[in-house]
Amino acid sequence: MPAPPSTPKVRTHPLGDSALLAELGTRLDTALNTRAIALAAALKKRRDVRQAVAGYASVTVHFDPDQTTYEALTTAIKRLASKRPPMAEPGRLHRIPVSYDGPDMEAVAAQLKLTPKQIVEIHTRPIYRVFLVGFVPGWAYLGPLPEELELPRRHVPRTQVPAGSVAIAGRQTGIYPLPSPGGWHLIGRTPVKLFLPDSDPPCLFRAGDRVKFFAQ
């Protein structure tokens, strides 16, 4: 049996008069993210909570100020976070085909002193975790990206990135669900649709899911 993870210290901060941010930590860490997702799920069951969204290592809680206060909710969050979270179900596994011919592939290869083939090999190796869904419709922050591929964001973001672009930045990877501006490095593209406006929920990935890329 692995030792139970130590209880993270929770810090809450007001996010206006009807929302708060509960921070479990500041590291990109699967265990912290698992706890954040579990805490968000527990908070969502409360009648005074309108919505709870897990971040990488935090939960943003939208509450009804007619039913609770920032202080009362902070106390409740500290109590919930001190409990050992239920064993997380392994998230659904998505296999995503990628054509590794993105416009930044050559530049990324040069910066990392790797060949495009090596980049494909490294990028397709891990099973990534969906740390959080958000930013724009259907966007999912996936990681951790292997250290060998770590690069800062582009100096000049693109004003338009095509939908389906597979991109990397820092220790993260992701897929642009819609045409949008973006500062990540585009190494490939996928035909898989991430934003599904006529489904509910309207996105393919959910926080806690797992993603494996393969070259096609």
Binding site: H13, L15, R27, V53, A54, W139, Y141
Partner: protein, 311 residues
């Protein structure tokens, strides 16, 4: 469904909005909905509707509408000088239109967004629990787009309240739209500013830049230095004041991105967001630090003003 108004001219940017889709943030979809929720709610109540019914949000100027049958309408929010058959008509007051009546707006006098409610509640395409128009996904409201000439505004059903014209909201119960001091609560990353930076944030004049829409307003003013370690992305809320590396804050509005990693130094009180919704590029504003309790007292006062319309 009953057809009430024909759109002769759509105005610069007129969309169907309600109170948004707060649960869609789980999928990265903005909560959306009316930018000025006080004006939106008041318009509905004045037209005998539930306050969450859909209204028209008219940005910068108003549309030209022709009544296809008699209906109760109310116009609230920004002052675009509304007219019926050319004659000035009051805002913040329910009034009956008769078949053939023409609603026009002579021009903007103040504010950015006016709201038009129709008795029965405007009908629109529902997406993820809301009729609010979200143009990026082309969903909700009038086929997911802004109004066009020739569109027909229909209502979903009879008004939930009695159709009485002349219901009005007295001036002293309105938010003070001319006062651009926005009350704000210190946010998660306020400590990054230090004492001097905090003083700059709460007190310095800022200006709404040209980069201002339903997603948010980029502000111009003294550079705010909120630098520090890179943050892991977290869930955001409308009213949050983000500070990117440029030091020029961004005030998040109804169609805001649902998550981000920029420091959030403060969040505008919910009850001050109607004033924020009425700002245009070039307008000056400032932030005043308040406690959560003070922000909630403002909220209670606004609630009481709206409740005065339902009796």
């Amino acid at each position: 469904m009953s057809e009430k108004l024909r759109v002769r001219k759509p105005g610069v940017f007129t969309t169907i909005q309600d109170l948004g889709r707060p649960n869609a943030i789980m999928a990265g979809v903005p909560p959306g909905g009316a930018m000025d929720r006080f004006a939106h709610r008041a318009a509905n109540l004045l037209a005998g509707n539930d306050e969450g019914a859909a209204t028209l949000e008219c940005t910068l100027n108003g549309p030209e509408l022709i009544a296809m049958e008699s209906c109760l309408v109310a116009i609230t929010g920004a002052d675009f000088d509304p007219r019926v058959n050319g004659e000035p008509v009051p805002r913040w007051e329910g009034m009956f239109l008769h078949e053939g009546d023409e609603v026009t707006f002579a021009g903007r006098r103040s504010g950015a967004r006016a709201y038009i409610a129709v008795g029965g509640g405007i009908a629109g395409a529902r997406w993820l629990g809301s009729m609010s128009t979200y143009m990026l996904a082309a969903r909700g409201g009038m086929h997911g787009r802004q109004l066009m000439a020739g569109d027909v505004i229909a209502t979903a059903g009879p008004p939930s309240g009695p159709a009485i014209s002349g219901r009005k909201l007295t001036r002293n119960l309105l938010p003070d739209y001319s006062n651009h001091q926005l009350q704000a609560i210190a946010g998660p990353h306020i400590r990054r500013l230090g004492a001097a930076g905090r003083k700059e944030l709460f007190g310095s004049p800022f200006k709404v830049s040209k980069d201002a829409d339903r997603m948010g307003y980029r502000l111009e003013g003294p550079g705010i230095d909120a630098s520090g370690d890179e943050l892991l992305s977290f869930g955001l809320a409308a009213g949050a004041i983000q500070v990117p590396r440029s030091g020029q804050p961004i005030l998040l509005m109804a169609d805001h991105q649902t998550a981000g990693g920029y420091p959030v130094v403060a969040t505008v009180a919910g009850a001050a967001m109607p004033v924020a919704a009425q700002l245009l590029p070039g307008d000056e504003l400032s932030f005043t630090e308040v406690t959560i309790e003070a922000a909630l007292r403002m909220r209670t006062a606004q609630r009481a003003a709206l409740d005065s319309l339902v009796n």
